[in-house]
């Protein structure tokens, strides 16, 4: 059974600081997804990582994937208040359309 673990689950950080969210998963997979969810809203796709060593960046967020370690990281650079949200990673274990397994999410709060 595929399991996905995120840490930390809660993160309070000051504006301007850097931090990393970790996503570990239990079985072989080369497809990992990061989503953002604002309070009361649905999920918005941030990154799709498809291979070992993949790195993608969008603004102050950078995601990477190490399939050998079964680990993805979401790095936040110089945080701003607008990044406050819950971030989920998700993994699927096969090619094609199989249900994604989600982590529990990391609730990020960026404070002045």
């Amino acid at each position: 059974e595929l399991k996905v673990e995120q840490n930390p689950l809660f993160l309070s950080m000051q504006e301007g600081k850097n931090y990393t969210i970790y996503c570990n998963y239990s079985t072989t997979s080369d497809r990992l997804y990061w989503y953002r969810q604002d309070p009361g809203k649905s999920l918005e796709s941030l990154f799709v990582l498809l291979s070992n060593g993949a790195v993608k960046q969008e603004g102050r967020l950078m995601a990477s994937l190490d399939t050998k370690a079964r680990l993805s990281t979401l790095h936040i650079t110089a945080a701003v208040h607008d990044l406050s949200a819950t971030y989920f990673c998700a993994v699927d274990s096969n090619s094609g359309n199989t249900p994604l397994v989600f982590g529990k999410g990391t609730r990020l709060s960026v404070i002045a």
Binding site: S42, L43, E44, V48, A90, N97, T98, P99, F102
Partner: protein, 113 residues
């Protein structure tokens, strides 16, 4: 439509009543998924439809839950004899065949009182 549409957006129901939630996926998306999100929690997979194949119902928590999909179009999730623990946001997502990642709807917030 332009996105995944879910209705109603909010539903309050009395314990023991049946409810029906609707999801209208993006046109042409063959795969459709239902997830449940309890307050402050992650997403719990419920059921998955792929084209005309038999649905993957492995995530349905009890036989009170069922879902139907008409071809590659609208899906309805039915919860019979609702219980308070059914209170959650029910999210629907769709994707094209072989796609990478989903497009989510805005969800239906179900409250059982």
């Amino acid at each position: 439509g332009a996105g995944v549409s879910q209705s109603p957006s909010n539903k309050v129901t009395e314990k023991g009543k049946d409810v029906e939630l609707r999801c209208d996926p993006i046109s042409g998306h063959t795969a459709l998924y239902w997830y449940r999100q309890r307050l402050g929690q992650g997403l719990e997979f419920l059921i998955y439809f792929q084209g005309n194949s038999a649905p993957d119902k492995s995530g349905l928590p009890s036989d009170r839950f069922s879902a139907e999909r008409t071809g590659e179009s609208v899906s309805t999730l039915t919860i019979q004899r609702t219980q308070q623990e059914d209170s959650a946001v029910y999210l629907c997502a769709s994707s094209p065949t072989g796609s990478l990642g989903y497009t989510f709807g805005s969800g239906t917030r179900l409250t059982v009182v």
